[in-house]
């Protein structure tokens, strides 16, 4: 049933279907340490995306032959729940999920100091409970927090956000309808302290200038999300400042 009506993505006031400006991020909510049995976990709501990320590890490598002698093997599974999309999605892993598992692993692995744990595995599981475009970026944002929550040594956190083009204009953080009807989609993951882009994909049509604009937009949004991640960690591990010397803290093992 093709939709013959032309849906306008940007109205006369320059506002998008959900009322956002062209460079506005969807609301993001983050919570760290939401699961009991996982070593680390985090939950994200990014726009209407709802994604749970969990980390197990470092743990013994099973089977043994996959282990690497000088560092941990990082494994990553990105998976969408059957009820997460408009049309029910078969639970069997699709080619898209396999590709995304790979690029997400490659976006997080540069941040992990895996040389501390030779012959072990660090397993990252990302479950998309509700999808509304930008799931791989939101998945990376939450998985990075889950890695920190598990106490795995990281160089820094990784934040993800996409930019794109709709009706000829470069915009930030596409929603599902914008992704489906838009002209380009550019998911990015970024580590601000290292100035390092660890995930970059694009599909659609962008000329060189539009691309540069979109890249800058998404990188800046990643910086904002990075601060939200740090804030989420602070909230989880809120520490009341010790005032007196009488507190019984074990001596530091020098």
């Amino acid at each position: 049933m093709g939709n013959k009506e032309k849906v306008r993505l940007i109205d006369d006031n320059g506002l998008r279907v959900d009322g956002r400006r062209l460079d506005e991020l969807r609301p993001v909510k983050l919570e760290v340490g939401v699961l009991d049995k996982a070593d680390g976990s985090a939950y994200i709501e990014h726009g209407r995306n709802k994604i749970l990320a969990a980390v197990f590890g470092p743990r013994e490598a099973h089977p043994k032959h996959i282990a690497l002698a000088d560092r941990a093997v990082v494994r990553c599974r990105y998976h969408m729940a059957p009820f997460s999309t408009e049309e029910r999605k078969s639970p069997a892993p699709s080619r898209r999920e396999q590709e995304l598992s790979k690029v997400i692993r490659e976006s997080l692995e540069p941040s992990i100091m895996s040389e501390y744990f030779p012959r072990s595995t660090i397993d990252i599981f990302i479950e998309v409970l509700q999808a509304d475009a930008g799931t791989r970026c939101a998945g990376i944002t939450s998985a990075s927090l889950a890695l920190a929550d598990a106490g795995i040594p990281l160089r820094e956190l990784v934040a993800g956000c996409a930019a794109g083009k709709i009706e000829g204009k470069v915009v930030l953080d596409l929603s599902d309808v914008e992704d489906k009807k838009g002209d380009a989609d550019l998911p990015v993951a970024f580590m601000p302290k290292s100035n390092a882009v660890s995930l970059l994909q694009m599909d659609g049509s962008l000329n060189e200038d539009e691309f540069k604009q979109a890249l800058d937009m998404s990188v800046n949004a990643c910086r904002t999300i990075y601060e939200m991640q740090r804030d989420a960690l602070r909230r989880k591990y809120h520490v009341e400042r010790e005032e007196t010397e009488k507190d019984e803290v074990a001596e530091v093992n020098a």
Binding site: R75, C76, L215
Partner: protein, 271 residues
Amino acid sequence: MSATHQPSPLAKLEQKTINEIILKGKRIDERGPSDYRPLTITLGPVEKANGSAQVYLGKTKVLAGVKIQTGTPFEDTPNEGILSVNAEFVPLAFPTFEAGPPDENSIELARVVDRGIRESKAIDLQKLCIEAGKKVFMVFVDIYILDHDGNLIDAAGMAALGALVNSTMQEFEVKNGEIRYKDSKMALPMQNYPVPITSVKIGNSVVVDACLEEEQVMSCRLTVTTGKNDDVCAMQKGGLGTFTPEEIKQIVSSAIQKSRDLRAQIVSKVN
């Protein structure tokens, strides 16, 4: 589940050598940083396919074949034909390629080539509609890696493009919802010619068209696929390293330029 790959089979000494040469602005096979290896494109080696192309890029060999069949359109695009791209990393191409379902590398390659063709609207899919909502032509592009010496994505992308521009199908007309084939052949309706250009980061240097050893030493790669009007239609970063935003902009700029040369080479073969 995706897992960290086994480490590079190159000894540390060999890796060091490649790194040092690259630092000097050279490469182990004496190319410049923006030079492609010798490229040979042969169109039509498989006559039974609707279209085919063989690409030799240095020692990398890729064969792509196109088969066009009828089928039902997707619900949300009832007037459009269907494109499907698949890649096989056949075991004879490399000692560690195994028989079996596609692994994440061949899936990634197929999807990157697919996005290049699809997003550039290379095939005019609307011309492949037989009866709206009921019957359309499906274009299957199958990429066969025959010999892996690095830069499979670019070789595969060019082979796929070559196979598509080489593709012909029976001319047809539709009367009363029935398809009637004519005697003559028509070319697959193409309107864009996407070419992927993959750049690879070694240390702090960037080179294009990495050979196998360079790939085994690289920290990461960035593929940029461009169409005929310098519009970038697909990009994919791969590998465990990272790029700065400045490096990415530089790579995109160079790739747009480079793809013009390669596109000309492929398109000229048709005539």
